[in-house]
């Protein structure tokens, strides 16, 4: 018997870590020392904060390199690190540091460049709470998907790999338990940047409904 799908959502209080970077050395220093919550906020959570926009320079580090440092080569290196490719905050931190160090290694004389605005390292204290939507069947899953907020979709679809420590999302994991491997795989390979979260949610509803319809026709 597969456990019901309990829709959760996330809220957070954002606070200052006290670290700020006025140059690239301080930026690396901050990346090395801030809490995992800070990397989470600037790197992973930015996908939620900017879900309505097209993909480039989605996370805060790349945007800072572009807008405040006016260093497109660094911005490109950082932007190439895509939050959805990571399953651990530690890996993300290491790759961000390596990308910045790699850039400095190539153009050491640029270290003295000052940003037009410092990078303020913030962090998020998060609270996870059930939305009240619980799905026991595929039909209920489709119905609930249509009525939970953006944050809940983000939590189960985009944030899940960080929580689970593997390339997986909560919907696919649950659907596998139901033997719905094809649908689970389709959702697993969904491009989360293709649409905004509300549109992605509608697409998920369509996918689940279509799968239910197909199963009914087959039986």
């Amino acid at each position: 018997m597969t456990a019901p799908f309990v829709f959760q959502s996330e809220v957070g209080a954002v606070r200052s870590t006290g670290y700020r970077a006025d140059d690239l050395q301080a930026f690396i220093h901050g990346l090395e020392r801030v809490s995992g919550s800070s990397i989470y906020y600037h790197f992973f959570r930015s996908v939620y904060r900017r879900h309505f926009m097209s993909v480039d320079y989605v996370h805060d580090f790349a945007r800072w390199a572009l807008v405040s440092l006016s260093l497109p080569p660094l911005a490109e290196r950082l932007a190439q690190l895509d939050p959805v490719d990571f399953v651990s905050i530690r890996d993300a931190r290491e790759r961000l540091i390596a990308a910045t160090r790699g850039f400095l290694g190539g153009v050491g004389e640029w270290v003295a460049i000052r940003p037009s605005a410092p990078f303020y390292f913030l962090q998020q204290d998060s609270l996870i709470f059930p939305t009240g939507q619980v799905a026991h069947t595929m039909d209920e899953l489709a119905e609930s998907l249509g009525s939970v907020g953006n944050s809940s979709i983000y939590y189960h679809l985009i944030q899940a790999p960080i929580r689970l420590g593997r390339r997986e999302n909560d919907f696919s994991a649950w659907l596998d338990g139901w033997g719905e491997h094809e649908l689970a795989q389709t959702i697993r390979t969904l491009n989360v940047y293709r649409w905004s979260i509300p549109v992605t949610r509608n697409h998920l509803v369509d996918l689940v409904r279509s799968s239910v319809g197909k199963a009914r026709r087959a039986s």
Partner: protein, 423 residues
């Protein structure tokens, strides 16, 4: 001073916002608030009417009560000498060269002492807004948590004024600022909560296109001529002269107009001076219009923002600059100088453009006046940016999260309820 006009319409309820945020977002706020049923909260500020803080509290307090929290709002009682002093302190905290003598501090302490009975001891949290009532923290009781909400930009604060305030702020449990650059080197946690706009207020509610054009025509502006707009006080810091120059440089083959709409300059001697100089400089330019509007011209500003093709904000310094979010909410791409909150709100190349010079602004004005496809694309993204980050319900959700985090002393990630979650 003219009193702000009272909007005769009833205060919107939380459900009324479902039309702009979607029902699921409202349901989540309700669900979250269940964890705060009966949470006792007292707001204290220094004025009941007038100013952004009073407007904010007038809207937020009833809504939090609607959600089951027990929220009260009290106002510090001052006297003219106190308010003169705190006005000077406000300017000094904004970086103005103001000297506050010993007598000023005495007046501040005297009024603080007189209000010693104002903070309640039977609440869970006291929120003090801005520097005027900040000294009340000396009367805090052990069982109540205290939060200082700073609505002003402290990044260039006068050292003496900040030193005076800092001693008091460090006695709070936490402080809340609009932007990271306003935070200070403090020993207490500093949270960040950007302000938000009310999409149902007269300044932001939907107005049918025809009606918006009629309102604009009523202001003596041709609503059919492509419009570049800046809405701001007539103030050197808003750089209206720079806007004028940028517009002059951005000459396009298609006829257009520049509208500079500002607040009532009569109340402010410097504003009157700026307005007069601006009027003089614009006198020979047929397509430049200055609008000196009364402070309650919310619907007129709303209509102007809707009719404009490009909105600019060329401020040299800016607090948060919610006027940017207001224009973006109306689907307008904003070209803004890369300062303060403008830099936070505009995602360069996605929802508008950040510029660093008059020439840069001219280039972007020209681009957005002529490239209507780009204009539409950025404007649509701008509206969604506001929907996701700067609307009143989002702000309410963030506040509820902060109350819960403070109540629980949560750090990192915490589950509010133990649920059997599929993992």
């Amino acid at each position: 001073m003219k009193k702000p006009a009272t909007d005769p319409r009833p205060q919107p309820k939380l459900d009324d916002y479902a039309g702009v945020t979607g029902r699921p977002e409202i349901d989540e706020i309700r669900r979250l608030s269940e964890h705060l049923k009966g949470f006792r909260l007292q707001h204290i500020n220094s004025t009941r009417v007038g100013g952004g803080v009073a407007e904010l509290l007038a809207a937020k307090v009833p809504m939090m009560n609607e959600l089951g929290l027990k929220v009260t709002w009290d106002v510090l009682e001052g006297n003219p000498a106190f308010f003169d002093m705190t006005k000077s302190m406000h300017n000094a905290l904004h970086g103005a060269p103001v000297w506050l003598d010993r007598e000023s501090w005495r007046v501040y302490e005297e009024v603080t002492l007189k209000n010693h009975a104002l903070p309640k001891s039977d609440v869970d949290l006291v929120i003090i807004h801005d520097p005027q009532p900040a000294g009340l923290v000396q009367f805090r009781t052990e069982n109540v948590r205290w939060l200082w909400r700073c609505h002003i930009d402290l990044s260039a604060a006068d050292i003496a004024a900040w030193a005076f305030l800092r001693k008091r702020v460090e006695r709070y449990d936490a402080a809340v600022f609009h932007l990271p650059q306003y935070t200070k080197d403090l020993m207490i946690p500093q949270y960040l909560l950007p302000p938000a706009i009310d999409p149902l207020s007269p300044k932001n509610e939907d107005i049918p296109e025809r009606e918006a054009k009629e309102i604009v025509a009523g202001l003596g502006i041709d609503p059919e001529l492509p419009m570049v707009l800046q809405v701001s006080r007539f103030d050197y810091l808003k750089d209206p002269f720079g806007v004028l120059e940028a517009y002059r440089l951005a000459s396009t083959p298609e006829a257009s107009q520049l509208v500079l709409a500002g607040g009532a300059a009569d109340d402010d001697p410097e504003g009157a001076e700026v307005y007069a100089k601006l009027a003089d400089r614009a006198s020979g330019l047929p397509n430049v219009k200055l609008l000196n509007l009364p402070p309650d011209s919310h619907r007129e500003i709303n209509a102007l923002q809707r009719v404009a093709r490009v909105v600019v904000q060329k401020s040299i310094r800016e607090g948060f600059g919610l006027v940017v979010a207001e224009a973006m909410w109306k689907g307008k791409p904003v070209v803004g100088n890369s300062v303060g909150g403008i830099r936070e709100q505009i995602l360069h190349g996605v929802t508008g453009f950040l510029v660093h010079s008059t020439e840069g602004m001219a280039f972007r004005i020209r681009q957005l006046l002529t490239n209507l496809e780009l204009n539409q694309q950025l404007g649509d993204a701008a509206r969604e940016n506001v929907r996701a980050n700067y609307l009143f319900p989002t702000s309410l959700r963030r506040w509820l999260a902060l109350f819960l985090v403070m109540q629980r002393g949560a750090v990192g990630v915490e589950y509010l309820e133990k649920a059997e979650v599929h993992r």
